[in-house]
Amino acid sequence: MRFVDEYRDAEKARALAAKIAALCEPGRHYKFMEVCGGHTHTIYKHGLEDYLPESVSLVHGPGCPVCVIPMGRVDDAIALAEQPDVIMTSFGDMMRVPGGRGSFFDSSAAGTDIRMVYSPLDALKVARQNPDKHVIFMAIGMETTAPSTAMTVLRAAAEGIENFSIFCNHVMIVPAIKAILDSPDLRLDGFIGPGHVSTVIGCRPYEFIASEYGKPIVTAGFEPLDILQSVYMLLQQLAEGRCEVENQYSRVVPWQGNTVALRAVGEVMELRPFFEWRGLGFISHSALQVRERYAAFDAERRFAIPGVRVADPKACQCGEVLKGVLKPWECKVFGTACTPEMPIGTCMVSSEGACAAYYNFGRFSRQRVREVTIEASRA
């Protein structure tokens, strides 16, 4: 059955590809950014670029929350873990992310108590079970994850738990998209909007992309056909001279988002004046911090944090990859000095990172293309 489905999907993909090619203006090149790391995965895994005409290219955006955490924040988190009687808790994705002084795994091997959790609620449970310790949750993630952290803080407050706080590193994708649009490095023709982020924030926050920057954006699902359909919708807008926010993923994404989730985040957190993104630098109003009234749950208020800025290793070009200026394989250390086993940069650590996705899937199809090209040139 599965094979039949796959066959049908391939047929549909080819039909969509033909419609996409028909919409392309001769001589024009189109560059669309897929903002979300999940989309990057689908594109590489299914070799979707092979379905697109040469005049359409997809570039990868900064939508991987692990990838954009600057090294200094990892060092700050390790400094927190080194405080006496502290248990640090973190999603597994963060464990291998290198800071200036190593990763969580390195710190844990050196004797700190850093535990992997699946949910911030698991971190809260660690706090309940260890009343003589202070439990910190390394809160990372974009708009998708911030509500879960906020709900956990609200639960901790309701239960009167006093030995729990969060180290808040929640970032927001919308200001990052704006920073990319303001950057002179890259000319984009439109965006494939994130899927899960949009289930929380809805589609309205993207309206400035169309109205102020004149670029179309289509919120997309994660299936290969979803991505191709979104590219088709973007090209259709451009062909008709329209610039709008469209929702290809309406079967999951409500236009107004999840208002309960947005209220929870608004109750517990507020915008930071600015926050450093790896590769993108400081972006104003692009991250969240704990509000004063929940100060008891804010690790940054409860502990002294070094707050040192750490420059990325010189060889690392994650910044260019995150901005879509470089493709993963164009980075000098990709696949040689930097691999998923021994990562230098964050894009190679996270499963959502463009480099890890390309390393695991994309390089094979690219190799095939290269082999075919070499064969053809020999013939």
Partner: protein, 93 residues
């Protein structure tokens, strides 16, 4: 942690109404449904789970599509499921 995992609601926990017992790939786990209070799920509904919280209700077809996507990405999905299976958010102690 960025992944959304589909699951089918089995029951709402009577003593903790913000939690639901959910079947995820044949394994039952407690999932927080506090973000869906505007449109609470009932047994038989499918939900998209993110770090222990139900983020949205989905239909069965979308649940299947989401699961196909997850299986296709391999290791990251296996890691996420392994982490979810370790999770015990319903136990108060």
């Amino acid at each position: 942690m960025c992944l959304g995992i589909p699951g089918e609601v089995i029951e709402i926990l009577p003593d903790q109404p913000d939690l639901a017992r959910v079947d995820v790939s044949g394994v039952k786990r407690a999932i927080n449904i506090g973000l869906l209070t505007d449109d609470p799920p009932v047994p038989g509904d499918w939900i998209l789970i993110h770090v222990g919280f139900a983020l949205s209700k989905i239909d069965e077809q979308e649940a299947k599509a989401a699961m196909d996507f997850l299986i296709s990405i391999g290791q990251a999905y296996e890691d996420e499921i392994a982490a979810l299976l370790e999770s015990r958010i319903d136990e108060r102690q």
